[in-house]
Subunit: 159 residues, 2 copies
DNA sequence: GGTGAAACTTCTAATAA
DNA sequence: TTATTAGAAGTTTCACC
């Protein structure tokens, strides 16, 4: 995968859009002392290059009654069953991310649930998948998410 | 934390915005057979209630040269050092998420790096934090992210 | 609550530099 | 590559259901 060449202006545009995707291009233009047309062209270019894959809302799941987060490590009976199990896992909506990993576990996933009871149900669903030997759960007591902008700054300085 | 009451229309609006935050309100209105003004008011209400916390871009980190993902479990010498260590961890931009967890590890984090070499540097940074006893790394070979919309549908059906 | 229309702002594509 | 510009499109407010 080739590295895409971002210049300082692209970087600044991304910076503003990372914080709020609906910020008007005219505002970005004003801040960067360029025209809104230029912002438009640059964003389009980054979209076409696939750097910007899309945009999404950040929701408060706690306010929706889903305050429980856990990570579940999955041990398989046999690694040849990996893709089958991944498929089954992807059918569970409460699993938000799944990884095939090296190290202790074969598959590693993050789940989001209403409460302990509900999480138990979800973990049982995972345990019940054919090919799963056993699972190990880590309950999150507190989640802190690092600023995406910070990472982007480091990435930009590396390029 | 009180659960917020979303009705079918709010849900549909969220659904469209989750997929693309820049979809025009007029498009949403057309699809849901309501006025653009109503969409506007509803979105504002969800923002005010804090359900919608913000919006952000989905970036292709691989294309930016950052294809390495790992999870790192952190063992502390003493749990009283948790907040101090979390502070230090939050200063490392390559750590994207950190959790305080029950179970095997005291702290659990996700890192994103350029490559194995770079990841090693990041893990050494974690190891070097005062109060960290040792760490355990799981390298992600493959990440699959479940559709946010699927989770929202389940949440909506639960409410 | 919702609507429709007016006033205002922003987007976008073509043209020019 | 960037700026300008003008018509198209979107947002937001408000008087009225």
């Amino acid at each position: 995968m080739a590295k895409f060449k971002l210049d300082e202006i692209d970087h600044q545009i991304l910076d503003m859009l990372i914080e709020n995707t609906r910020v008007p291009f005219t505002d970005i233009a004003k801040k960067l002392l360029i025209s809104a047309g230029t912002v438009h062209v640059r964003v389009k270019k980054m979209e076409d290059a696939g750097i910007i894959k899309g945009s999404s809302l950040t929701l408060d799941y706690k306010k929706l009654g889903y305050s429980f987060i856990a990570y579940v490590g999955v041990f398989l009976q046999n690694t040849s069953k990996t893709s089958f199990v991944l498929e089954r896992i992807s059918e569970i909506p409460y699993v938000t991310v799944a990884h095939v990993t090296t190290g202790k576990f074969n598959i590693f996933c993050k789940i989001r649930a209403r409460n302990t009871e509900h999480a138990k149900d979800v973990i049982f669903m995972l345990d019940d998948i054919e090919g799963v030997y056993r699972t190990e759960t880590m309950i999150s007591l507190d989640e802190s998410i690092n600023d995406k902008k910070r990472l982007m700054h480091s990435i930009f300085n590396d390029l």
